[in-house]
């Protein structure tokens, strides 16, 4: 799966958690979930669970702590998918 495909998939994971659909549509590696997408910080755990379900991976707490924007989230997802193979 390409980085661009994961970015698009991540957008669908994030969609129920943000009201700012324009910011979501133009999301790139630098986009920050809380600051740019106005996502409630409590929902970050839900986003991780939804991403785990979508990609059939497990994101351990240490990896989750590395996620600070869309780019780092994609990094973690791709790393976990690679580990699975």
């Amino acid at each position: 799966m390409s980085r661009q495909e994961v970015l698009e998939g991540l957008k669908s994971v994030l969609a129920p958690y943000t009201m700012d659909k324009e910011a979501l549509a133009s999301m790139n590696d630098e986009t920050e979930f809380i600051k740019d997408l106005k996502i409630n910080s409590a929902n970050l755990v839900d986003i991780i669970i939804d991403a785990e379900d979508k990609y059939d991976i497990e994101i351990d707490p240490d990896s989750a702590e590395k996620i600070h924007n869309a780019g780092s989230c994609i990094d973690v997802i791709m790393e976990k998918m690679k580990e699975k193979i």
Partner: protein, 423 residues
């Protein structure tokens, strides 16, 4: 203290009607909301019927943001949000638009928060999968979940209180809201209560053998307050909500005024005398009604209608006895009396608020709703009050003052007096 408190908005999720227009029609027509539940048969419950609202959870999307709606699963919170938001809009307000209403508070009560969420937590924790629970469980398991959702949605910034006193919860919530306005602590209060009786709560009531079990094949005949064949109550689910308002504040914003709250009281019989965990001490009930009359400045002779607690247990007769003693009225002089529970069952914590909505509707539209299933009045009851005091058909009447009471487990009583609004 000269402040007057009026009702300016209402919302309801009742077993026989969701929304005020449907509920009004059901009250006028004497429509039962009691249904047979096949699952209760499969679970080997003695009672296999209950009062359940025809509630479409997805309609909450009309009230909540997509983000809030996503992950909300608790039926009881759905009822509360729908009733509260409808009451708020009915009173001429908008859902949260960025304004914080510092002068408006909320008292909303329940008995038990969402047990479906609790079940999910228990099952995932026990199977070592707690990390899959996500962030939205606690807010749906906490008893203050309803007030939390309502407050955020409506932008309420005054005192926010979650109360709980079993079957007296709803009327106590209304009374507390009234008192805060009366004593100048708030200009408006959104008050009410919610209850969802799921299989677990239902099963625990069923085990007490206080539910009617002989009408499983005739659900609409199952809830029979004051009848000789009353064999226990029928649990119900739902929510009721009212917007209470300082009269001057309501007049200043040209609000439509539905009725006035004249006063009320809440107390406990302390589980002494005839009282216990599950039944009220008669002395406490009489005290509560007498205190409410004094607080409201109402003479017993001026009560036109009693909306009783009247659940369809052996306590119905004691209740009529207590009203008779407290009001000094009996025989043909006893006030007209009805029980909403004959149509919707006993909605426990939600009973008070749903039944108070019914009281306000009867005052607004000047009618007395029928008592269903009262073909065979309890001889002990019609020995105290004339049988005509318990109408089995809708009556059109000039109603001025209505008394409402609820009595809860733990021997907690609440009584309120309402009147038609006169300027």
């Amino acid at each position: 203290m000269s402040r007057r408190v009026v009702v300016t908005g209402m919302g309801v999720v009742a077993p026989n009607g969701v929304g005020i227009p449907a509920f009004l029609q059901a009250l006028q027509n004497g429509t039962s909301g009691i249904k047979f539940i096949p699952l209760y048969r499969d679970l080997h419950f003695n009672c296999q019927v209950c009062g359940i609202p025809e509630f479409d959870f997805s309609h909450l999307k009309d009230y909540l943001s997509e983000v809030t709606f996503y992950g909300l699963k608790a039926t009881t919170l759905g009822y509360a949000i729908k009733a509260a938001a409808d009451a708020w809009i009915d009173a001429g307000n908008k859902l949260y638009d960025g304004t914080i209403h510092w002068d408006t508070g909320c008292v909303f009560g329940n008995s038990i928060a969402d047990t479906e969420a609790m079940k999910k937590v228990i099952s995932l924790v026990d199977t070592k999968q707690s990390r899959k629970l996500g962030s939205r469980m606690i807010e749906q398991m906490m008893n203050s979940g309803a007030t939390a959702y309502i407050t955020g949605l409506l932008g309420l910034g005054n005192r926010i209180i979650t109360n709980s006193s079993a079957c007296a919860t709803g009327s106590q919530a209304v009374l507390m809201g009234y008192e805060y306005i009366k004593h100048g602590m708030a200009k408006r209060m959104l008050v009410g209560s919610n209850e969802y009786i799921d299989n677990y709560i239902f099963g625990a009531f069923d085990a007490m053998r206080i539910l009617a079990r002989k009408f499983n094949d005739e659900p609409q005949r199952a809830s029979r307050p004051m009848s000789a064949s009353a064999g226990g109550f029928i649990p119900g689910s739902g929510a009721g909500a009212l917007v209470l308002e300082d009269l001057e504040y309501a007049l200043a914003r040209n609000a439509t005024i539905y009725a006035e709250i004249l006063g009320g009281a809440t107390n406990s019989g302390a589980q002494q005398g005839t009282g216990s965990m599950t039944s009220p001490n008669a002395e406490g009930v009489v005290h509560c009604i007498t205190d409410a009359l004094r607080d409201a400045g109402v003479e017993p002779k001026n009560i036109d209608l009693i909306s009783g607690h009247l659940t369809a247990t052996m306590a119905d007769k004691s209740e009529i006895e207590n009203w008779s003693k407290a009001l000094g009225r009996n025989g043909k002089d006893f006030p007209l009396t009805n029980s909403v529970k004959s149509m919707i069952g006993h909605c426990l914590s939600a009973a008070g608020s749903i039944e108070i909505v019914a009281v306000i509707l009867q005052l607004m539209h000047q009618f007395v709703h029928p008592n269903l299933n009262l073909e065979d009045p309890n001889p002990g009851i019609i020995n105290i009050a004339d049988v005509d005091c318990f109408p089995t058909k809708k009556l059109d009447r000039d109603l001025n003052i209505v008394a409402k009471a609820n009595f809860g487990f733990g021997d907690v009583n609440a009584c309120l007096l309402f009147s038609k609004y006169k300027n």
